[in-house]
Structure formats: structure tokens, C-alpha cells
């Protein structure tokens, strides 16, 4: 129900044009983009079927989070924690990927 209302608002009112959406505090205070910046805009584009535009707004969301969510959903649905979440390599990889993505997306090296 709340999800449906949220999706309707997100579909109808573009986050780039209206100020009533929550703002990323990091982006607000520093002007830099955080690893999660672009998620709202990407969801808006996705709801309109613009997959490519959504991908450009936050590629990591698509390459990292969505496959992970799909991969671990069966475990979570059964009330269990997927085993890889407790593996040292996985947790350190999350740290490295997130921080390097955070840095790179604020440099001219970032391709999008």
C-alpha cells in the first residue's frame, strides 16, 4: 500500500523537478556524491521504463546491489542469513567497493 503510493508519487513527480523528496545529507553538506546518490532518480527512470538512463544514474546499484539482493533473497525469505554475509572476504570486498566507488564517482575519471 505505502509502496504503491510511493511508486505513484515517484512516477508522477520527477525527483529532479520537485523539492519534497528527502535529500542526501552528504550531498547537501559537501556537494559531492555518495555511493547511494541517484537511487531516487534511477527508480523514477525505471518506473518510466528508461533502463539505460536509470543505469547511468547509479551503475553500482545495478551491478552490485540488485544481483546481490536477488542472490540472497531465498535465504532471507526463509529467515536465514546467507552464509556469504559472514565471510571475511565478502565484508572487506563491500568496504573496498563502496569506498572506491565513493571516491571515483567524485573524480573526472568517472565515465558517466
Amino acid at each position: 500500500m505505502i509502496g504503491a503510493v510511493g511508486a505513484w508519487v515517484l512516477y508522477t513527480y520527477a525527483p529532479t523537478s520537485y523539492a519534497f523528496y528527502p535529500r542526501c545529507p552528504f550531498n547537501w553538506l559537501t556537494g559531492l556524491e555518495c555511493p547511494g546518490c541517484g537511487t531516487t532518480r534511477a527508480l523514477h527512470q525505471l518506473l518510466h521504463g528508461n533502463v539505460e538512463a536509470a543505469f547511468r544514474l547509479n551503475p553500482m546499484l545495478f551491478l552490485g546491489l540488485i544481483p546481490l539482493a536477488l542472490f540472497s533473497a531465498p535465504s532471507f525469505l526463509r529467515g536465514r542469513t546467507p552464509a556469504f554475509i559472514m565471510k571475511p572476504w565478502f565484508a572487506w570486498m563491500c568496504f573496498v567497493v563502496l569506498t572506491s566507488y565513493w571516491i571515483v564517482r567524485n573524480t573526472p575519471l568517472y565515465p558517466f
Binding site: 513527480y13 520537485y18 555518495c34 546518490c37 559472514m86 563491500c94
Partner: protein, 143 residues
């Protein structure tokens, strides 16, 4: 994990005990079944009795930390992720006390990050109150 019924050591992803057939499903509840009697002479076991902790008995808050990092955008989320990763490393190394310590810190930083994120968002909405109202008006005008 060890079967709560007969104590047989099963694979972590086993759904039933290979020895007695008892269901091993039940997620979190499984982790908090009463521990076996403490092995004598093990120092400082605390509430867990000092027995070997199965993976999953010390929560690492990794998912929460990542959500805080992505949604509240605060570097504190990254600090929480570092402690989450330490929980995993220390568990893998058998350092249960250290893992529990890192787990507490991961939880603490994730909550502080979450709280500061909420506070920042309230300040943002308060400061941009007129802009928000204007945005709602624009939205109604453009329907």
C-alpha cells in the same frame, strides 16, 4: 551448526539434522538456543558459555551498515562496515570475544549514522520548508 536435539554437528545450511532428523530451520531462534554446558576451565565465556561459536551467533550488522551508508550517506556507515568486516575476520580466526566487541561497535556506528542521517534530513526539510511547499504547489499546478 549443532543439532539442538542430539548435538550432532550438521552443515550450516542443513534443513534437518542428519542424525535424528529434527528440523534445523528457524533462523535467528536457532542461534539463541541454550548453549551446551560450559566446558570447564574455559575463561571468560560470558553468556555464551565459552563454547565454540557457530558462524552467525555474532551478528555482523553488515546489511544494516550498507543501508546506512547508502541511504543516510554518512561516512559513519563506512566505519560500521569496517567493524562488520572485523566481526567476520575475527570469527574466522576464532576470536569470539573480539568479534563480539566489533559487533557492538558496528551496531553502535550504524545507529549513530542512522540517527544523524535522520537529524540531517529533518534539518534539510526545515530549512527548505518553503521550497517544499512551493514544490507541492508546483506539483498540483502541473497535474
Amino acid at each position: 551448526m549443532n543439532c539442538p536435539n542430539c548435538g550432532t554437528n550438521n552443515l550450516d545450511n542443513a534443513s534437518v539434522c542428519v542424525n535424528c532428523g529434527r528440523s534445523l530451520m528457524g533462523g535467528a531462534a536457532q542461534s539463541y538456543t541454550p548453549p551446551p554446558p560450559p566446558s570447564y576451565g574455559t575463561p571468560g565465556g560470558g553468556e555464551y558459555g565459552g563454547g565454540p561459536a557457530a558462524p552467525g551467533t555474532v551478528p555482523n550488522y553488515l546489511v544494516q551498515s550498507i543501508i546506512v551508508t547508502l541511504c543516510c550517506c554518512l561516512p559513519l556507515g563506512v566505519v560500521a562496515i569496517i567493524f562488520s568486516a572485523q566481526v567476520n575476520s575475527k570469527l574466522a580466526a576464532g576470536d569470539i570475544a573480539g568479534a563480539r566487541d566489533a559487533s557492538q561497535k558496528a551496531k553502535m556506528f550504524a545507529w549513530i549514522g542512522f540517527g544523524l542521517g535522520i537529524v540531517a534530513m529533518i534539518i534539510w526539510f526545515a530549512m527548505s520548508g518553503t521550497a517544499v511547499l512551493q514544490g507541492i504547489r508546483d506539483a498540483q499546478a502541473n497535474r
